[in-house]
């Protein structure tokens, strides 16, 4: 029973993904008609980055200028998440230390 249910749900998911992949719809365009408060119909941040990124940050790599300059808080959060994860690994594995006592 559970295996049949699992296979059926997997088949439905596969069919939905295949349907989306075969005929792509203009989903965002229809959504853009109902945006509020004078927002543009299509988001134009990508053309803004492509046209102004080289002048404003003087970097050739637009991805780096987005990651470290325009979206700097994302990188700050990622770095602190990595720091916290390493801190957790150290706290868990420090008690497993064997015969070494060099620090």
């Amino acid at each position: 029973m559970r295996k049949a249910l699992m296979a059926a749900s997997l088949f439905v998911l596969f069919a939905a993904l295949l349907y989306v992949a075969v005929n792509p719809s203009d989903f965002g365009a229809e959504l853009g008609d109902h945006l509020v408060f004078g927002e543009p119909k299509y988001t134009d941040m990508d053309s803004y980055f492509i046209h102004n990124g080289q002048n404003q940050t003087a970097a050739n790599n637009i991805v780096t200028s987005i990651v470290f300059d325009y979206r700097g808080f994302d990188t700050l959060g990622e770095a602190s998440v990595l720091f916290t994860a390493v801190l957790g690994v150290g706290v868990v594995l420090r008690m497993l230390r064997g015969d070494e006592n060099d620090e």
């Binding site: 080289q54 002048n55 404003q56 940050t57 003087a58 970097a59 050739n60 790599n61 991805v63 780096t64 200028s65 990651v67 470290f68 300059d69 700097g72 808080f73 990188t75 700050l76 990622e78 770095a79 602190s80 990595l82 720091f83 994860a85 390493v86 690994v89 150290g90 594995l93 420090r94 497993l96 230390r97 064997g98 015969d99 070494e100 060099d102 620090e103």
Partner: protein
């Protein structure tokens, strides 16, 4: 400690991996890659040396305290480099197009790429690279020490 074949190829291969990682970190504002990817590649070199030579031999060469200090220094210098532009806003790139270090301008459009550009971005790349190198390296070293400790019992 692995076999002699593995140790020999690790001896040959690890300078190339370290040079490739530092290249990715230093050219983060010109070519694909950046601090996180370059730090991960350098940590892969550290893991290669550590696994092929064993923990008993490697703990004299690579200290865990140094790696932890590198991680903390990297994160702190990243935050300090972000704080230097606090006159305008947090993460303000005040060094770009200023004529100081890393302050040259680039022409619009495709160009060969100049290393002395992009302001604060190479400094932040270096800081994040040091942080990721220390963090992922100390994870591998802790796993090595825990594996050795549970091997003894």
């Amino acid at each position: 400690m692995m076999s002699k074949i593995v140790r020999t190829q690790a001896n040959i291969l690890y300078p190339l991996i370290l040079i490739f990682g530092f290249y990715i970190v230093a050219h983060g504002h010109l070519t694909p890659g950046g601090g996180f990817q370059g730090g991960a590649v350098i940590a892969t070199g550290v893991a290669l040396v550590a696994i092929s030579f064993g923990y008993g031999k490697i703990k004299k060469w690579i200290k865990k305290t140094n790696l932890t200090a590198a991680e903390a220094v990297g994160l702190l210098s990243f935050i300090i480099a972000a704080f230097t532009g606090i006159g305008t806003s947090f993460f303000c790139n005040w060094l770009a197009n200023s004529g100081l270090i890393f302050g040259d301008t680039v022409p619009y459009g495709p160009n060969p790429g100049y290393l002395n550009t992009a302001g604060l971005l190479p400094i932040m790349n270096l800081a994040v690279g040091i942080e990721v190198l220390g963090g992922l390296g100390v994870v591998v070293m802790y796993m090595l020490s825990a594996a050795k400790a549970s091997e003894v019992k």
